[in-house]
């Protein structure tokens, strides 16, 4: 049955080395395992995808770029039968180490039009801490190589490393200005359980400092021409990540691959993280039916991540209620934790970094009933 789904996420959980901060679904690259994985992935996609016209595809990881050329070709041949609309956005995440002419040419050939590069920092003093091996010059060379093939490029910037000083951050920001690519994602180092950093008992930097760094980045990027469109995303005009907007707009999307999550037919699901189960075709680990209340809550907690906020009229059209009828927002408006500009409800910029304390007001309880 055809559904109104316009986005697809595909997870490639393999990495040639494991970054110390990563708690995402990943494992070491193993050639034979990857071959088997791709076969299972193909089965999963075509057991659930029914020919919907897609606007966005996003291949993430893990490190999709660590696959060898044959495996990448196999992956793209699987995706060949997907139907795409004319303005489609097709992103692949690339590790800076894996950037090479042959792979970029292949990406170009199969229709990929957006590259997301995990750079994190150009400060070499942090790369061993992150368990990454790269130096400034090769970062520069590799990005310049990508620029020869693609113009829609995104770069990840990480901040709030232990011992990071404002001068370190400045170096990264100057690099961004110099390299001039249209999209930047930023995120602070979070020491998650089950990561090497957690096991090594690395400490986070002080809250005040981290918040200052965040606002320093925001102000800098805005000054050099980026638009701040979501808590942690910035773009030049016309380069907003369409795929990520699917998430923030609370729209449905397919998620395929080990540990991937998706939202299809009113159900949010998460796939198994156990590779053996996955290879056997036991894909789904968890399913949660989204009733109307939960959907409305999600509409707010996701939508308020956008700088523009939640469109009041769209909310009414989607659910048949005004936001004020469902949520008690007077108090938040009074305290200026939420702003109503007539069309949109949004979190003012200076409160973005404490947005959780605002978002919890939109959670009605674990069962979503109110």
């Amino acid at each position: 049955m055809m559904k109104n789904i316009k986005s697809m996420y595909i997870h490639i959980p393999f990495c040639s080395s494991i970054c110390s901060y990563c708690d995402f679904c990943k494992q070491f690259y193993n050639e034979k395992l990857v071959d088997k994985y791709l076969l299972a992935l193909e089965k999963e996609i075509y057991s659930r995808y029914h020919g919907e016209v897609l606007s966005t595809i996003y291949i993430g990881g893990g490190t999709p770029s660590c696959l060898n050329l044959n495996q990448l070709s196999k992956l793209f041949s699987i995706l060949e039968s997907l139907t795409l609309d004319n303005n489609y956005e097709f992103t692949i995440e690339v590790n800076i180490n894996d950037i090479q002419k042959e792979k970029l040419e292949l990406f170009k050939k199969v229709g990929i039009n957006r590259i997301s590069i995990g750079v994190e920092t150009i400060n070499e003093k942090f790369s061993s801490f992150l368990n990454r091996t790269i130096n400034y010059q090769s970062i520069l060379n590799k990005i310049n190589l990508v620029k020869k093939y693609f113009n829609n490029i995104s770069m990840d910037l990480m901040y709030a490393f232990f011992y990071e000083e404002y001068e370190d951050l400045d170096k990264d920001l100057h690099f961004i200005k110099m390299i001039d690519i249209p999209h930047i994602s930023i995120y602070s180092l979070i020491i998650e359980e089950h990561t090497k950093l957690y096991i090594d008992k690395v400490e986070s930097i002080a809250e005040e400092k981290e918040a200052k760094m965040y606002y320093k980045i925001v102000n800098y990027l805005k000054k050099i021409g980026y638009k701040h469109y979501e808590i942690s995303n910035f773009s030049k005009d016309g380069y907003v990540s369409k795929h990520n907007m699917t998430y923030w707009n609370n729209e449905e999307y397919y998620g395929f691959g080990l540990g991937a999550s998706g939202y299809v037919n009113g159900i949010r699901y998460t796939n198994t993280k156990n590779i053996n189960c996955y290879l056997k075709g036991e894909y789904i680990y968890l399913e949660e039916k989204q009733n109307k209340w939960i959907s409305m809550e999600n509409e707010m907690i996701l939508g308020l991540r956008k700088i523009k906020g939640v469109n009041k009229k769209s909310f009414f059209e989607k659910y048949g209620y005004n936001i004020e009828q469902i949520f008690d927002i007077m108090n938040l408006l009074d305290k200026r934790l939420l702003i109503d500009n007539g069309k949109y409800l949004y979190i003012p910029e200076d409160k973005l970094y404490i947005s959780n304390s605002i978002l919890v007001n939109f959670i009605g309880g674990s069962n979503g009933k109110r």
Binding site: I186, A211, Y253, S261, I301, V360
Partner: protein, 600 residues
């Protein structure tokens, strides 16, 4: 059964020295229960008792035992082991002629053992010393024997060695009960005197009284009178517990059993009171009755204000079974409507708090426990101050008295220094110290009760790596230079955080409290100044900085469910906090006012 074939006894022991397991073995050897039925620790039936390894409500078992071809009835009367319940223990012991003193073969005599032993000796009980857990690899029987001999004066040949785990020594012990514990005295022909030593509330039969008949005979359908409360009832049922319930037509002098008389109100039945016959009363009540006295008070407030009535109902239900629980409505400007509750001690308080939360599902904020002060006014009036808010204005006050205790602290001698330092910091005055053996001492201090209500025991444990044990007795009220200290958040006095402190320690306490509040109050959206003040003088201040970071990271692969879970968890945490003005306070904040020093 004639009196000469009855033995009434208790088991006294320090917590975890194996009292309940030993009771189980005695039940087994008297065939009261089969091994299969003997689910671990039969006599402890409440969940919390099992979890905490302590016996809260009393239980009595009547057991048959054949010795030299003659059948005996052994009445095993269980006692709680904690100092909070020492009055209840003393009444249970008063129902017995003998007691088994259990000491762990690896731990030796502890403070609590001794406290209960003294209670037993006050009641003229015959003591059978037992060294238990002799199967443990680290058992040191010789050393513990020496302690029993030196400290208490037992004869070596009187000490019985047991392992409640393997059953070793149990038969010898039960034989010894028959041999050395005297049969009960008392006359069936005298007017009825029954000692109430416990009661429980049964929803079908009303209050059920545990009674020891001292003189006379009690029969079904007798009209009885409680001598202290004056309550009159007709006996519906008489029972014994074998440990299955068996109905009896009468209970005679020397016997122990249960009385049901359709008693609706537990306040009619006071532990230590004497039951007599309405028509043929005894001349005088049995000695030793004391009215129940609450030692510690605290405020219980529902986190959700709408649950006030539910809380009242919960406390009423608990009170049905526990006459020592007191409560009356209390209003706090900060916390709204709640109850000021009185408890026998801290353990009792913890148990009630836990039961309200666990059995009735009401999330609580409890204010810091406070002892009962006596405030003497210039006009000679005396006011009982069980809450800091009741402390009269300084200008009206002549003096304030507070309750004092005397300690028994048993400790290896290497910890004498740290313990003395601890007691000194708690306003203690040294009395004396005795060597139990060359390596262990019993330290006596006089301390204000208010100084031990919170962390004294934890501190003691950490100062002594858990090797010290502690017990106390109340010794009365003494005058102290006490003042009320208020805590201000955001410039407003939060009444639920006020405490009474000694003037000389006020500055230090004030510092400690604001520092601990700073740690325990989560960052809010705005800065929160914390101040401690006496009268109008601010003596310490701190600030909780405004929240700067509370944000979900970038979303990988659209895993929204996980992000939502994080927010749900945050929301749950918020639910456990109490909104005080514009500030959200967790339970820990209310306990911060008990902090004594700044090194925590």
């Amino acid at each position: 059964m004639d009196k000469n074939h009855i033995r009434n006894f208790s088991i006294i022991a320090h917590i975890d020295h194996g009292k309940s397991t030993l009771a189980d073995r005695i039940l087994e050897i008297t065939n009261a229960v089969s091994k299969r039925e003997a689910k671990a620790q039969l006599l402890d039936s409440m969940d919390i008792e099992r979890e905490r390894g302590i016996t809260i409500k009393l239980n009595t078992a009547s057991l048959k035992y054949t010795y030299n071809n003659e059948e005996y009835t052994l009445n095993l009367i269980d006692t709680p082991g904690h100092v909070d319940f020492s009055y209840e223990v003393s009444r249970s012991l008063a129902s017995c002629e003998g007691a088994i003193l259990v000491v762990d073969a690896s731990q030796g005599i502890e403070a609590q053992t001794l406290a209960n032993l003294y209670l037993a000796l006050e009641n003229n009980l015959t003591i059978i010393p037992v060294i238990n857990k002799i199967d443990l690899p680290n058992a040191d029987v010789a050393k513990v024997k020496q302690e029993l001999i030196n400290l208490i004066g037992f004869q070596e040949e009187d000490i019985i060695l047991t392992s409640a785990k393997t059953g070793e020594g149990i038969k010898e012990l039960v034989d010894r009960i028959v041999e050395v514990i005297p049969p009960p005295k008392g006359e069936e022909n005298l007017p009825l005197q029954g000692l109430i030593f416990d009661s429980i509330f049964d929803s079908y039969r009303g209050v059920i009284i545990s009674v020891r008949i001292v003189n006379g005979v009690l029969k079904v359908k007798d009209t009885i009178k409680m001598m202290q409360t004056g309550a009159v009832y007709e006996v519906v049922d008489l029972m014994i517990n074998t440990p299955k319930e068996v109905k009896k037509t009468s209970l005679k002098a020397g016997e122990v059993g249960f009385v049901a008389a359709s008693i609706k109100s537990i306040s009619d039945v006071k532990v230590g009171d004497t039951i007599t016959l309405f028509k043929n009363p005894c001349m005088a009540p049995l000695p030793g009755y004391k009215p129940m006295k609450s030692m510690v008070f605290c405020g219980l407030f529902p986190i959700e204000s709408s649950k006030f009535e539910e809380l009242r109902e919960a406390l009423s239900k608990l009170q049905l079974n526990d006459a020592s629980l007191l409560f009356e409505p209390e209003t706090s400007t900060a916390l709204g409507f709640g109850f000021r509750c009185g408890f026998l001690g801290l353990l009792h308080m913890d148990i009630i708090k836990e039961r309200v939360t666990r059995e009735f599902g009401i999330e609580l904020i409890t204010t810091a426990p406070s002892v009962v002060y006596e405030a003497y006014l210039n006009n000679k009036e005396m006011i009982i101050v069980d809450s800091p808010s009741k402390m009269p204005d300084k200008t009206l006050l002549k003096e304030v008295k507070e309750p004092y205790i005397k300690t028994n602290i048993f400790t290896p001698s290497e910890y004498i220094g740290p313990i003395m330092e601890l007691c000194q910091n708690k306003r203690g005055s040294y009395i004396s110290m005795e060597y139990i053996d060359p390596t262990r001492v019993n330290i006596h201090y006089e301390l204000p009760l208010s100084e031990i209500v919170y962390d004294f025991f934890d501190k003691l444990k950490s100062y002594t790596k858990g090797y010290a044990s502690f017990d106390y007795e109340l010794i009365g009220y003494k005058t102290s230079d006490l003042v009320k200290m208020d805590i201000l958040l955001n410039g407003e006095i939060v009444d639920a955080l006020s405490i009474i402190v000694h003037k000389d320690f006020a500055y230090q306490r004030g510092r400690a409290i604001v520092e601990n509040l700073k740690k325990n109050i989560p960052r809010q959206l705005f800065e929160v100044p914390i101040q401690a003040s006496i009268g109008n003088h601010v003596i310490a201040r701190e600030t909780v900085k405004a929240l700067r970071k509370d944000v979900l990271a970038k979303c990988y692969g659209g895993d929204i469910t996980r992000k939502r879970k994080l927010l749900e968890k945050q929301k749950e945490g918020k639910k456990r906090m109490k909104q005080v003005g514009s500030i959200e306070l967790p339970q820990e904040a209310f306990m911060s006012v008990l902090s004594m020093d700044t090194d925590e």
